[in-house]
């Protein structure tokens, strides 16, 4: 549960500090309130933990983190599966769970 998953911010939702984020080709909504002082904008990469963006990272770091997570095998699969099950923001009317480019 302490894994951080890298994701790219796709769209800021005007509601409860939520943002739509793309993780391995799957869109979900996460809370970016903890990065309020860092002015997150679409295109930024963030490290996500239990539905919250914990830190802003650069694209290199995101790729690096993703590659090392994929090496983890089952633990990463479990974390991703949990992440995909998340319903955060599903009341906001945004397209949650829409698959963008298929799972990576």
């Amino acid at each position: 549960m302490c894994l951080g998953i890298p994701g790219q911010v796709v769209e800021l939702l005007d509601h409860e500090h939520l943002a739509k984020v793309d993780v391995s080709g799957v869109g979900r909504v996460v809370n970016i309130g903890l990065l309020e002082d860092e002015q997150v904008t679409p295109g930024d990469w963030v490290l996500i933990h239990v539905g919250f963006a914990m830190s802003k990272i650069d694209e290199d770091e995101a790729k690096r983190a993703l590659a090392s997570l994929q090496l983890m095998g089952q633990a990463y699969d479990d974390e991703l599966e949990a992440y995909w099950s998340s319903q955060i923001g599903s009341e906001t009317g945004s397209e949650i769970g829409s698959q963008t480019e298929g799972r990576g």
Partner: protein, 380 residues
């Protein structure tokens, strides 16, 4: 060199391993440099990638208490199950906690016996369940270090501002500094330095670790989660030791800022207060080591809303998670490791979470170890 080939940059890994060899120099392998990785994520990386077998015998990695699932004592799981069994309750928990044994079964078994226990990815998911089920009390089982606690804080603030009255939190958040201190005070362990936790430090920053060099004279290097990060952090620790320096350094500066995340820290202070003491599995009671909800959030505090057994339950006699969590023994030295205690039927918490030293070793480490032993035998 086995293992290294799968690394992102095998050449860099080889260079780091060679440098570690130089720095370890002619240190007596009987008196190795003992470096503790505090964080369970690091333990996972170390076993997953066979890092301990890349190191010279004079450098030993000791696994620490930084797996939040592993340090929850049985009595707290019993409390959770008691709440889950209360009339009408929907009990929500991270997946990792579902299989942690209490004195009479785990949350999954409570679910099989009729309790409404649901797995959630985020505390926000739990709050969502509460909003969708306004006529039923929804309780979130909050565990985790400072990495996770801000998420619970934000969720509680949202619940309050949205006037959600059927949501509460059974708070078991713990803090990272007190167990490090407890380990440094522990007489049965001699350590030379620490690999500091990665993601916890994104929140708390580097300042809280200063007491490690200042008061105990040990270096600490905050490290990332890639195998290369771990190797580089070991180089930084050995360099400090070799130069007679003793500081807090940050190998993971591409993610961790020295000041941490001030916004997250402010939210923690707003919602939580320190408990006078908290029981840690294997480490016993540690003062001011865990968080409780402030009185202002009493209406959201499951500890106040439900009758909890609150009984201290001793670990099963056979289980040596305590020694594993303190780094006194290695997973495979536990009497029940891999026989009575496996990831399928865990006796101790260290075998439950993928970040637990025993589960990580069971899944990956023993294969590397067997391979290393075979390799050593063929070379000899």
């Amino acid at each position: 060199m086995r293992y290294v080939d799968e690394y992102r940059d095998p050449a860099a890994a080889r260079a780091l391993v060679a440098r570690i060899g130089e720095l370890a120099g002619d240190r007596d392998p009987e008196q190795p440099f003992k470096l503790m990785e505090v964080c369970g994520g690091h333990t996972h990386t170390i076993y997953r990638h066979g890092i301990e077998h890349l190191l010279p015998p004079a450098v030993e990695l000791v696994h620490g208490p930084g797996c939040p699932v592993c340090v929850i004592p049985m009595g707290r799981v019993d409390d959770a199950i008691a709440v889950a069994r209360s009339p009408g309750v929907i009990f929500t928990s991270f997946g990792d906690m579902m299989r942690v044994p209490g004195s009479d079964g785990n949350l999954l078994q409570a679910k099989a016996n009729g309790a409404d226990v649901r797995f959630v990815y985020s505390p926000l998911d739990a709050l969502q369940i509460a909003r969708k089920n306004p006529d039923r009390p929804v309780v979130f089982f909050a565990v985790g270090f400072e990495t996770t606690a801000p998420s619970t804080a934000v969720t509680l603030l949202q619940a309050r501002s949205q006037g959600v009255t059927n949501f509460s939190v059974l708070c078991n958040h713990v803090t990272i500094v007190p167990p490090i201190k407890a380990i440094l005070e522990s007489p049965d362990l001699r350590l030379d330095g620490f690999l500091g936790p990665g993601h916890v430090s994104t929140v708390v920053g580097q300042r809280p670790y200063r007491f490690v060099p200042e008061r105990y004279g040990k270096p600490l290097v905050t490290a990332g989660f890639e195998p290369l990060d771990i190797l580089q952090a070991i180089v930084m620790l050995l360099t400090q030791l070799g130069e007679g320096r003793c500081e807090v350094e940050n190998q993971y500066s591409r993610v961790v800022r020295d000041e941490g995340n001030p916004r997250a820290l402010q939210l923690l202070a707003e919602v939580f207060e320190l408990r006078p003491h908290f029981e840690w599995r294997g480490l016993g009671f540690i003062s001011q080591s865990a968080l409780a909800l402030r009185p202002a959030f009493a209406d959201f505090d499951a500890e106040r809303l439900y009758e909890l057994p609150g009984v201290r339950v001793a670990d099963p006699k056979a289980c040596q998670c305590g020694e594993v969590l303190k780094g006194v023994i290695k997973p495979w030295e536990c009497k029940v490791f891999g026989t009575a205690c496996t990831p399928e039927t865990p006796i101790g918490t260290c075998m439950v979470s993928s970040e637990g030293a025993c589960a990580a070793y069971y899944n990956f480490g023993r294969l590397h170890r067997e391979a290393a032993v075979t390799l050593g035998a063929t070379r000899a």
